[in-house]
């Protein structure tokens, strides 16, 4: 399925989602940790800290996606199948992330026992709440942001991280995996958009959820630097 095959309603939605995405990239550009990465002033310890904070969201990710699937009623059983498949594909991704953490010099027990940071709390709370609503079509907006990050940013970040920390790719496998595979996920997303964005109300809800997800995702990134 190509973007060009989108219905007029979802084409309109795609325009709005693109703008939310561009704004999200700019928000990320203002996050101190990512600014340091851009300047090459980024250590292995920074990277471990990033993974430690990221893991919680990756784990919670497959949970809200599964919850989201279960909240769709029988009129949306096709959507449910797609989402269940996706959750199944990703629900153990965090194990790869753990391996990267250890390969970068981190202690497995540390990442396994780390709590969610403030941003992750907010992001997860919001997504679980939305996923618990009946027929949560708006969550395609959240997927747009989170899958988009994998597809558009992860590979670039992995390259920058390896460059700044003198890595050979052996501890950026999780990011690179997402950079390589999320393209196919985006194609699934366009299909979902056509299916779920059928009215102006749904369009507004999808865009709003994308916006909130982007803001909370950034908060999660901002909080990587903070210890509580």
């Amino acid at each position: 399925m190509k973007e060009q095959e989108l219905s007029p309603q979802s084409q309109q939605c795609l325009q709005e989602l693109m703008r939310v995405w561009f704004e999200f990239e700019r928000q990320l550009g203002r996050v101190p940790l990512l600014q340091r990465l851009d300047r090459g002033q980024f250590s292995k310890a920074d990277y471990c800290q990033l993974l430690l904070n990221w893991r919680q969201q990756v784990i919670e990710g497959s949970r809200w996606i599964s919850r989201c699937a279960s909240s769709f009623d029988r009129d949306y059983s096709d959507v449910r199948s797609t989402i269940i498949g996706h959750a199944r594909e990703e629900h153990r991704d965090y194990e790869m992330l753990d391996c990267d953490f250890v390969a970068a010099g981190g202690n497995l027990a540390d990442i396994q026992s780390a709590p969610r940071n403030i941003g992750t709390e907010a992001l997860h709370g919001f997504l679980m709440y939305r996923a618990s609503q009946p027929n949560p079509v708006d969550l395609v907006g959240a997927m747009w942001i989170i899958e988009g990050l994998g597809q558009k940013m992860a590979d670039n970040w992995a390259t920058q991280i390896d460059k700044a920390t003198g890595g050979d790719g052996s501890y950026t496998r999780f990011m690179r995996y997402h950079g390589a595979n999320d393209d196919a996920h985006m194609q699934k997303l366009y299909k979902l958009l056509n299916r779920l964005c059928e009215s102006p109300t749904q369009l507004a809800a999808i865009v709003r959820t994308a916006r909130v997800t982007a803001r909370l995702y950034c908060l999660q990134m901002e909080e990587v630097d903070n210890d509580y």
């Binding site: 973007e3 060009q4 325009q15 693109m18 700019r26 928000q27 550009g29 203002r30 851009d38």
Partner: protein
């Protein structure tokens, strides 16, 4: 009050220089032919361009003098004489001297008296910033006309000797623009009354994202510098040059951002109701390279707000990328050589990679 572009002009120094003539003119760095030249030229698609330096690296005409020639060309086909010009608004990335402002030097070169003066300093979008200053000045009723001139003389930075002075510090980012940029000037005359077939300026709008992105195109930082030590922070200018801090650089890794930011601004203007894609008859986009044209075009198509390819006009391939002057040179050539009818809408776009400022303008063709 409406503001109209009632005349335009351009000046391109010397003969057109083909791709094969470039390196003999700019010189081989350390006596070796460039390994990147062919690749970069293939991707930007430029066939000919102009330089204000000769093969002996003498400057054949100054930046201010080029700007003055474009301005005179513009006035020569207008209803106004020099003595009637009320405002001069000038743009460049680098004047001939560091100070005073480029506008002052141009005013003297042009021999304009008693004008209100504005200098706009920046990279590609500085011309539209200069144009906006003049446009708003006229709209506010402060003046009844303004001459807006944009000029670039970047070739002085591309002489082989400049790179040699930086020793072995010729990295890809420092060489990239050598095969992209060239010299030229463009001028527009703004009036509060229409004359003949002319362009009404509907609006000019820009969105700058310097707070969210690192520096992408610059002169003044050495290669790979993370401390942001400026050329002025060295004990002597000689040491700054030796460190490569005076080379013009493009952080190619960041360059791709230009595409999405350019499209982002376009989508904003659509949602504000300023742009109706279906009503646009001509698109003049200052993309620096053919490579970016297809990317911008594709992304606009993907968002469902594409503009048919036959409506796009550019003279990049024959006139070169002259930085801030490009959009004026393009508009001048469009005005004098391309068919357009009263009522036609022209969208101009200038996505700038300096630190990501995207400027847009809409014109409507009117007949007085």
């Amino acid at each position: 009050m409406s503001v109209y572009i009632t005349s335009s002009g351009n000046y391109l120094p010397g003969p057109p220089i083909t791709n094969d003539e470039m390196e003999p003119l700019l010189g081989m760095v350390h006596g070796k032919p460039s390994r990147l030249r062919r690749r970069i030229l293939q991707s930007n698609g430029i066939q000919t361009r102009h330089y204000a330096i000769d093969a002996d690296h003498n400057t054949t005409i100054s930046n201010a003098a080029m700007a003055a020639k474009a301005a005179e060309h513009c006035l020569s086909s207008s209803f106004l004489g020099k003595r009637q010009i009320k405002m001069l608004s000038a743009a460049t990335s680098q004047g001939d001297i560091v100070l005073p402002g480029f506008g002052s030097m141009l005013q003297a070169e042009l021999a304009l008296s008693d004008v209100e003066l504005h200098s706009s300093h920046g990279i590609c979008s500085s011309s539209l910033m200069a144009l906006k200053a003049a446009f708003t000045n006229l709209k506010a009723g402060e003046q009844s006309n303004a001459l807006v001139v944009a000029s670039e003389l970047t070739s002085r930075l591309f002489k082989a000797s400049r790179y040699e002075a930086a020793g072995s510090k010729l990295d890809f980012n420092a060489e990239f623009l050598r095969w992209m940029l060239s010299d030229g000037a463009g001028a527009l005359l703004l009036e509060t009354q229409p004359r003949g077939k002319c362009f009404r300026i509907d609006w000019i709008r820009s969105f700058s994202h310097a707070d969210a992105y690192p520096v992408c195109m610059s002169v003044g930082y050495p290669a790979g510098d993370s401390q942001h030590k400026s050329w002025q922070d060295y004990p002597s200018y000689g040491e700054a040059e030796a460190a490569g801090a005076l080379l013009i650089r493009q952080d190619v890794r960041l360059l791709e951002n230009i595409v999405k930011l350019g499209v982002d601004g376009y989508l904003r203007l659509i949602s504000e109701g300023r742009v109706q894609p279906e009503n646009i008859d001509h698109v003049l986009c200052h993309y620096s390279s053919h490579y970016f044209k297809s990317k911008i075009f594709d992304m606009m198509q993907r968002a469902g707000v594409g503009i048919a390819e036959h409506k796009w006009y550019t003279n990049l391939y024959s006139r070169g990328n002259t930085g801030c002057a490009s959009i004026f040179i393009m508009l001048d050539e469009f005005r004098t050589s391309q068919p357009h009818q009263p009522g036609d809408t022209i969208l101009c776009m200038v996505p700038e990679s300096g630190r990501f400022n995207n400027a847009y303008m809409q014109l409507t063709v009117v007949e007085a």
